[in-house]
Symmetry: C2
């Protein structure tokens, strides 16, 4: 069993979908990553920042899951990062109605001493300068560094982002972002180009259309589980990243075959996350439910053509 | 080994894609279906209609592949169905520039005596009244009837189409058509509704995003093989149908597990078809190439999570 270090935003989200709306609920990349990874009983820590408006019950939620919170800075006179968004009817696109960076604007991450030798470093979607700082603070080179990022950073901080990309083993981005980053429309060509930027493993997320894992000319594909209804897609990508990195940390196996399993676990957990608002579904999720749906993933994808 | 009867259009196509344009080349649903199914050395026949402008070399192409052409009516003073289309830059949509129904307008299909006991009946995309007539001419109830259709018939001949749908075992349509036919946005709900219309098996094709097979609450998913470049998508759906029905006919096995294999074979053959204009790639395709790519499909999708 390896140790997992997570850096990412912790936020309040206010979400509106065709099915309803929320008050301020727990959001940000790190909680989704942490809750997803906690399914594997892995030893993990979150590095992040919140304001004094952040409720103790959310912090307790982390510690209850064996997530070390000593790296979550609480700013006494600050307010927690806030995001408000509204999804369109097909849930495939959304408008950001409000963003208040608040304490996140001046975030200087401090990696807890006991996690400077983490085996897996999961860089959640965040300012690349923060991600770089965390990489630099590691005293032992992690066995695997996983980067999640988005088009926003490609638009406003490409140079720093490229520095991060050069230092990571795995990058997870969506299809449009892969096209933007590479300048290639074909995802196969896009992944080839992104390999040359640094990452040995490229994960391209296609939302309801699944995820592709590229490595040295080999491709693995994990479908999204076909669902009757998607309720709220917020955090699906973070949940995927948490399932992926959590499974790798738990198994301490960095082979391509194990990455395939990690992609399946990530997709599996993401399929739950979209069933309720925010991280509600992850908070109540049981190992039995996770196991049952994994068997569905197996029957969804496994076939038996004899190649003889 | 079962016998396969194919009904479908035979046409001249003129195609323009971002990569080039063609003169009049072989098109229509039946040639793609027949050529794809011929990969399995299955005994098959095409029921269709052409004009006297249809070249002997195309008919020879069919007979060379052990496809019976006695059901292809050649109208002495008629012209072959003609379609001209232009694909947009992303190849996901196209404009029809010209359609000349010609002899297809008055097509009365005649099933050859020796195929009135076919094991598998593949109804290619065509006027539902023609599909109904073929079903009615069968002297022995086929073990499997597969229907391919499209939104065009839902728009102008829904009542007759519903009659056909009620009589088939498998329907293959794309995601938008499934939504149109069912009135449901969720593909899971759409498939459930289409089941109630008749088909025990519902295949929903999602183009580059793969295909879903629904049966009694179970779902199987076959990805499309990620390709560096798609050259011409014309006939991909027909090729899928041909691979699917050809494999079922060859194996004479009508179980759900074998349907899964058939969906993989259909996807595999379709992945070749899009590499060149029209059916050019299918015409030159070797068993070695098909086999090699099947192994790619396996490594693309198969994983080994122990569920214990």
């Amino acid at each position: 069993m390896g140790k997992l270090l997570i850096v990412g935003s912790v936020a309040f989200d206010t979400i509106e979908t065709p099915f309803g709306k929320t008050d301020k609920i727990l959001g940000g990349a790190a909680p989704f990553i942490g809750l997803a990874a906690s399914q594997f009983n892995v030893e993990s820590a979150i590095v992040s920042i919140v304001g004094n408006d952040f409720p103790q019950e959310y912090l307790d939620l982390f510690t209850d899951r064996n997530i070390d919170i000593s790296g979550i800075e609480v700013v006494k006179d600050g307010k927690t990062f806030f995001w408000k968004g509204k999804y369109h009817n097909d849930l495939n696109s959304r408008d950001t109605l409000e963003t208040q960076l608040n304490v996140l604007a001046d975030f200087n991450p401090i990696v807890p001493k006991s996690f400077k030798d983490a085996d897996v470093l999961m860089l959640g979607n965040l300012n690349p300068s923060v991600q770089l700082s965390v990489i630099d603070q590691m005293e032992v080179k992690p066995k695997l560094i996983v980067l999640d990022t988005m088009n926003f950073w490609m638009d406003i901080a490409l140079e720093e982002l490229m520095e991060v990309i050069a230092k990571v083993d795995v990058i997870t981005i969506n299809d449009e972002e892969a096209r933007q980053l590479s300048g290639e429309y074909s995802l196969v060509k896009a992944a080839e180009k992104i390999h040359t930027m640094g990452p040995k493993y490229v994960v391209i997320k296609k939302g309801e259309h699944g995820a592709l894992l590229f490595h040295k000319g080999s491709i693995f594909f994990a479908p999204a589980l076909p669902l009757e209804e998607v309720f709220d897609p917020t955090g699906a990508g973070d949940t995927f990243a948490g399932g992926f990195s959590g499974y790798i940390a738990k198994t301490d196996d960095y082979s391509f075959d194990n990455m395939k399993n990690a992609v399946i676990h990530g997709s599996n957990l993401a399929s739950f996350n979209v069933e309720k608002f925010g991280s509600e579904r992850l908070q109540e999720l049981t190992k039995e439910e996770v196991y049952k749906r994994l068997t569905q993933f197996k029957s969804l994808t496994q076939f038996d053509i004899k190649l003889t």
